[in-house]
Assembly symmetry: none
Homo-oligomer: 173 residues x 4
DNA sequence: GATGAATGAGTTTTCATTCAT
DNA sequence: AATGAATGAAAACTCATTCAT
């Protein structure tokens, strides 16, 4: 991975996240990345290849996060970590998440591949905590996380931290 | 509003919702609506004007819904109605909602104009129910609704009805 | 000639003069004239018909001017009147002249139909005044008039009146 | 400046001069230049950019001519050279001049940037020749030149050479 | 690996013109 | 006489992609 290659990925990610995939032209990516337009195609085959490279890049970091949670033992600790996940997205990872969420609304581009691993983590937690409907409770948490992520990524309100505390209280965490 | 004008709006809405705004060409809209491409521009000025007409159209229907909730008296009844709002989106309104949610992720296209009226409805409810942090609770409900809407509009799981019941139980509704 | 018909002619003339014939759309003419677009075509057949109507309109006024000069007897008086012709264009006739001059540079639109009558007036004048080359002198005056008209119609300098006086002096008028 | 780029400029100039700027489509320019239409926009941004490139191109050649006159010493020699300027336009420069003169009649397209340098040349000449009103005389010469240029560029008469001689005689050149 | 000229197929938009009312 | 909805063809412009260097 050369420096220019990385600059392309970085620029494309930020533009795709800001303006959307199809509203971003390869020429704009090239211009802002300071490389020739041809280079994008040499390295990534085509525009979709560029998107895939970006997603692949991010998915790897994602796996790391999932694994770190998987290793935990205490159910409440796991639940706490899962719920606060959207809050722990740090500044330089935001474009990636924004892109991911935006793509979900674009048909046939992205498959929801992190939904199942999340369920696999949550169901055992609610079972351990003796909730009546572990699967349903898991889904509810995922709904909550989705909502939280939206609010955070779209900067809709500042007090997400407080909302998190409120949720923690409701789950007695 | 002539018949062709309406057909354009309808077709555009369904295509924008399915494939995204910028991935949908005006020529495709015209073809599927069975009108000449020029007509789109004669009636809506430009592609963005078409989008705005669609959004304006939808916003009006939205106001009707908000108003119907506003007129209710019983706090719990209001809360129930608000929470189940995402579930009451009927089939022919789905494209509008899908478009709206997709646009939120595109910068500068859509302003979140229904977030405040919603707060105005919810805060008094939680005050009446003697919750400690009415504003925070309102925001949490909105987070929940956002998550629910996503799940429904993206058909991620079938048992949203069950999730709703679970939420009702948690709010003792 | 109805009132709307006249308003179309007037508006078209001023727009054609300001922006050029092909850069002016019939829709803009209709809009500024406050009539429906269809009306232009009902009255003038097509865009070129509109132009021709404007030109025909103006040519009539032109003939009146030529005739008034033709009736004069005194050679110097004629020469004086001819030379100051460009200066006597009054404000509301300027668009017509501007259009006429602009059209000359557009191939195949306008034939230079006032060049010959002018020569017919000038040659006898210079013969009467005993100039050596009456035809050449006539052409020179026409060159001068062309230059003057440009300067006036394009508002290039304010002291056209002084230039006229200078020319008068040179021709001992 | 690649060969295709030059071919575009050349073709565009000749078409703009012949048919007018707005009556000439970029697709026609591309076709006649034997290039793809996109190339025009890649090199010149938009249609107006193409026009500006043409004008800039011509203005440079213009400066060379002005400079060559500026270097002369003898006032009468300068006056002679200035007056015969319109006659020295050679065949391949004619389209440029025709375009320039045509554009003057189109509002906001062309600023009369060569009028002042011309005055700077002429006023000292008439001062040196002891004319009473050097500035006015300069303007008159420019009026004359404008008229001459029109006559030449629009091929209105063949004996411009004779007219020039007549003018020379009047200025005792 | 990198550039940037070049393309062709498309996209958005404009426009003269027609036609039912 | 007048409107304004509608069209089809063309205009301006964009864009993903290729290729010679």
């Amino acid at each position: 991975m050369t420096e220019k290659q990385e600059r392309i990925l970085e620029t494309a990610l930020s533009l795709f996240a800001k303006d959307g995939f199809s509203a971003t032209s390869t020429s704009k990516v090239a211009r802002e990345a300071g490389v020739s337009e041809g280079l994008i195609f040499r390295h990534f085959e085509n525009k979709e290849g560029l998107l895939n490279a970006i997603l692949e890049n991010g998915r790897q970091k994602l796996t790391v996060i999932f694994d770190s949670i998987h290793h935990l033992e205490e159910p409440k600790e796991i639940l706490r970590r899962v719920i606060e996940l959207p809050l722990t997205i740090d500044e330089d990872q935001r474009p990636f998440w924004k892109l991911l969420y935006a793509l979900k609304w674009q048909a046939d581009v992205y498959d929801d591949s992190m939904s199942n691993p999340m369920k696999d983590i949550l169901i055992p937690v609610f079972e351990a905590l003796n909730y009546h409907q572990p699967e349903l409770e898991s889904e509810l948490v995922m709904v909550l996380m989705d909502g939280m992520a939206s609010h955070i990524l779209l900067k809709r309100s500042g007090n997400v931290e407080d909302i998190k505390e409120l949720i923690f209280k409701k789950y007695d965490l």
